[in-house]
Symmetry: none
């Protein structure tokens, strides 16, 4: 017998408390759509009345598969629930579900609210009853519950009972400051259930201040709670909320949860997880965490040479779930710890078959190792690695040769007496017997100087003869520079990420004491990789 | 009665499996020093013999407070432990402790090793015995233990017993693919102890593939294990290893751990945690995670308006630990008051006294905020921050003005038909009424081209008139470049670290779409900071 477990997403409300995050209405709508695709049970859209964006979101959002919830607080003292304008604004959003936060920690009732403890209990009861009377599903969000329960368990429970008796569908136990450890969470949830609040009415709301929000949520479920609150990518105040992106695959795929519980996320929803996680980062203009559980770019990357041969035999032995189930993929990067089997597996992924024991495998490994010793990084720059391998395997056509280049940067006052800079590049390229000489400058449409690498890139692309179209089709999406030790002295390592209209994305590397030279090397690799892949395309 | 709990750091070995991470020997030495300051019990330095960097590290590292451990694998079949050259290389590193990985999962013995199961048990026994006979502390690293125990508990235990009987000080249960959940980890550890391996000989090695490596480690400790393996910032393959930076404060500050266990990290070590975490990111040129438990820049940032007044009354109610204990600080972005007192404290650190309520404090805060919005990073570039403040406070003399500069990079064949590059810079500077024009190229003593920034730096330094001596006394020690969002589009942020003969080290920042221009801005700040500090010196 499976039991139903409910997922309550608060990305749009508690997730908005993340430092540096401020959603627009459009962003909220886009995220709500993703959440609905994913298959969470509840989407908490915000606090209507508390800020204009949240109110506008509730007006604009259409029908959703998930239950929409509006957040607010229990009525204030000294007025009836029906006469509290803050509560009225929340109800006016017209959502089927309403989540009201209230105090359950006596200390906060005394100091923050400054009202009588009984009065607080009455506020909870009356507010929940008012929502229910309006035909809404009421959820009571018990703020600071775990600290409150530690300090005064009888009072904390009295608050929960008030909400329960008034008809709350869910009572959510919040670990507001994130300090309660999973073991304690499990114990308290058990005690709450023993005190008469049924587990299938209990929710858990954890924060990641000790790095255990996911574990704390699962501890509550094991103790009997049946609703989990969390956010996409663990957004939220301070260290964030419980990360639903991590929780969902564990619940769906791993025992003891997979066979004990049923969740609203289908196999398709699960498959969209990686895409949704990265899309959210894109909306927020954040760099996705490579090491994020399940969905990170490195989550299924196998580096150790020792492991690689075993992985080739049976990937399942080094992977706790199949990356495809969450829409992610396996990566076997190159590194100086890689062995020949790692190398062959990697080449195979690139569509290059090499016989086991081929002596050229050793040559490739030797060059990779030598170059990594002087600063190259082939586990990041996979496209540059492919070019190294192709050169050894005789599978890299000589498309063109750069004979020389010159680039200059000048900074001086313009006619309006403002300091401006300009870069200019000349590149001389030989294609077959033909010499091509191009010049370009770095000004963009806005008149801003994009620098010497931009000028070089444009000059190189400008007249690559038969390859012009291929080059025009690619653009630079990221550029990373670091100083690293190249043998005895510091050199610059440049990594360039490129993309083309087919949606391919590839990374190349250049190393030199001269940053412009290192950049140019990475740029040439990027162009060559594009040409070789286009030439091999059917 | 407190019990001793041991922390085993494997940043330098398993942490090196992180995609994109490749430590140099110097970086390994710097990290080992940080680990020793922090107070971990073991520092695993790498696999001597398996790669040259690790061997060089063991040769170069001096005495440490922590026990140094070398990593390797149990002897191969068909030879004695004394005749296995791989094992010999590990022992030759001469570390007091030796950690050997071996198989305990029957499937891997059959398929990966392809040897008899008894032979594998014998390899474990003989290898551990050999280390002990050589006077070393032996640690057995039981690879894939949890999966092995699920598949064939009797065989997995037989492997552990072989190591135990042969005299292993520690037997480390590894959840190699990171798929075992905390509840299961606790249960298996209990069963292993019940089967006769004492808990004070058991270690736990977790990975973060479900986001629960910290919780899994603590579950093992609760079941009786007494050694935790992990890495700084949770570095490691795929999703990383258990994060010691998160685990240590929980063990040191939070119940039930704080009063049950004693760890080697002192209050001072704990206080260095935030610094160490960020310094590691700096070494790796990574962006520190703002939401990292305990040490993240947002870990104690309070955004919610609802909370702000309560926080002002008593911060402890919204913080599970005092941020100062881990060397972090509270951020209340709402409060200008907090911003101003923070700023005054920072200026005081720089020897600049400003009255409380001085209106220029607000001006400084405004400029810092505006410039951070377009990509500047004053947390890192303290010297540039000081210059901003001094400008507003009228305490920045106009030493010189750069009127214009030009720098070129040329790459062509030399007379020996080899590609060489050369950079040349011209800088025009005005000091008082005097115009100085200097030219310099970027060739170093070895004939290698150090690039355009080097040429600019030399040209600027060449003829700074009265400031020549001060400039000659400084040199660039690090140079970090990152692409960041400057308002609507990507810009380059350059951070330069400089040093002088007095041992002062300072960081400056420049931001521009043009990398050379951003570098030059940071360079000018570096020079100006040096001049202002020298001018104020007694």
């Amino acid at each position: 017998m499976t039991e139903r477990l409910y997922l309550y997403d608060t990305t749009l409300r508690d997730g908005q408390q993340t430092q540096g995050v401020q959603f627009s209405v459009d962003e909220k709508l886009a995220i709500a759509k993703m959440l609905d695709t994913l298959g969470v049970d509840y989407i908490e859209g915000g606090w209507p009345g508390a800020n204009p964006t949240d109110s506008a979101f509730f007006e604009a959002v259409g029908p959703t598969r998930a239950t929409l919830a509006a957040f607010g607080m229990t009525k204030r003292a000294g007025r009836s629930a029906g006469n509290d304008d803050v509560l009225a604004a929340v109800l006016n959003a017209g959502t089927p579900s309403v989540c009201l936060v209230g105090k359950t920690h006596d200390y906060h009732v005394d100091t923050a609210l400054g009202i009588g403890r009984d009065e607080n209990v009455e506020n909870i009861r009356a507010s929940v009853a008012h929502c229910v009377a309006q035909g809404r599903e009421a959820i009571f969000d018990a703020e600071h519950f775990f600290d409150g329960y530690n300090a005064n368990p009888a009072y904390a429970l009295e608050c929960l009972h008030a909400a329960h008796e008034a008809g709350a569908r869910w009572i959510v136990l919040c670990d507001t400051n994130g300090g309660t450890l999973p073991g304690r969470i499990g114990k308290v949830v058990s005690e709450v259930i023993a005190a008469g609040i049924p587990g299938d009415r209990l929710g858990i709301h954890c924060h990641d201040d000790t790095g255990m929000a996911v574990a704390g949520s699962l501890a509550a479920v094991e103790a009997g709670a049946r609703q989990i609150q969390g956010t996409l990518n663990g957004l939220g105040e301070r260290c964030g909320n419980a990360n639903l992106i991590s929780l969902i695959p564990t619940l769906a795929l791993k025992e003891p949860y997979a066979s004990r519980f049923e969740i609203g996320v289908s196999a398709e929803g699960l498959h969209s997880l990686t895409r949704i996680s990265r899309r959210l980062d894109e909306i927020l203009n954040r760099v996705p965490r490579n090491n994020a559980p399940y969905v990170g770019a490195s989550a299924f990357a196998h580096k150790a040479g020792l492991h690689a041969s075993a992985i080739a035999k049976d990937p399942a032995t080094y992977e706790h779930v199949d990356p495809a189930t969450v829409g992610n993929e396996r990566i076997i990067p190159m590194s100086n710890q890689a062995g020949q089997s790692n190398l062959r597996a990697r080449l195979q992924d690139m569509g290059i078959e090499v016989e086991k024991g081929d002596p050229r495998l050793l040559e490739i490994l030797r060059e990779v190792k030598e170059k990594e010793d002087i600063g190259y990084a082939y586990d990041t720059a996979q496209a540059s690695f492919e070019l190294v391998a192709r050169r050894h395997l005789g599978r890299l056509p000589a498309f063109f040769e750069v004979k020389r280049y010159r680039v200059s940067v000048e900074r001086r006052k313009n006619k309006y007496n403002r300091m401006v800079s300009l870069s200019e590049a000349v590149v001389v390229v030989k294609i077959g017997d033909q010499k091509h000489m191009s010049v370009s400058e770095s000004m963009d449409e806005t008149g801003s100087d994009r620098g010497p690498v931009n000028a070089l890139s444009k000059a190189l692309a400008k007249d690559l003869g038969p390859y012009q179209a291929a080059i025009d089709d690619m653009h630079l999406v990221d550029f990373k520079v670091r100083i690293t030790q190249g043998g005895t002295e510091a050199v610059t390592r440049v990594i360039i990420d490129s993309m083309d209209s087919a949606g391919r994305r590839w990374s190349t590397v250049g190393v030199s004491p001269n940053i412009v030279d290192a950049s140019f090397e990475a740029l040439l690799d990027a162009v060559n990789w594009k040409l070789v892949r286009d030439a091999e395309a059917p």
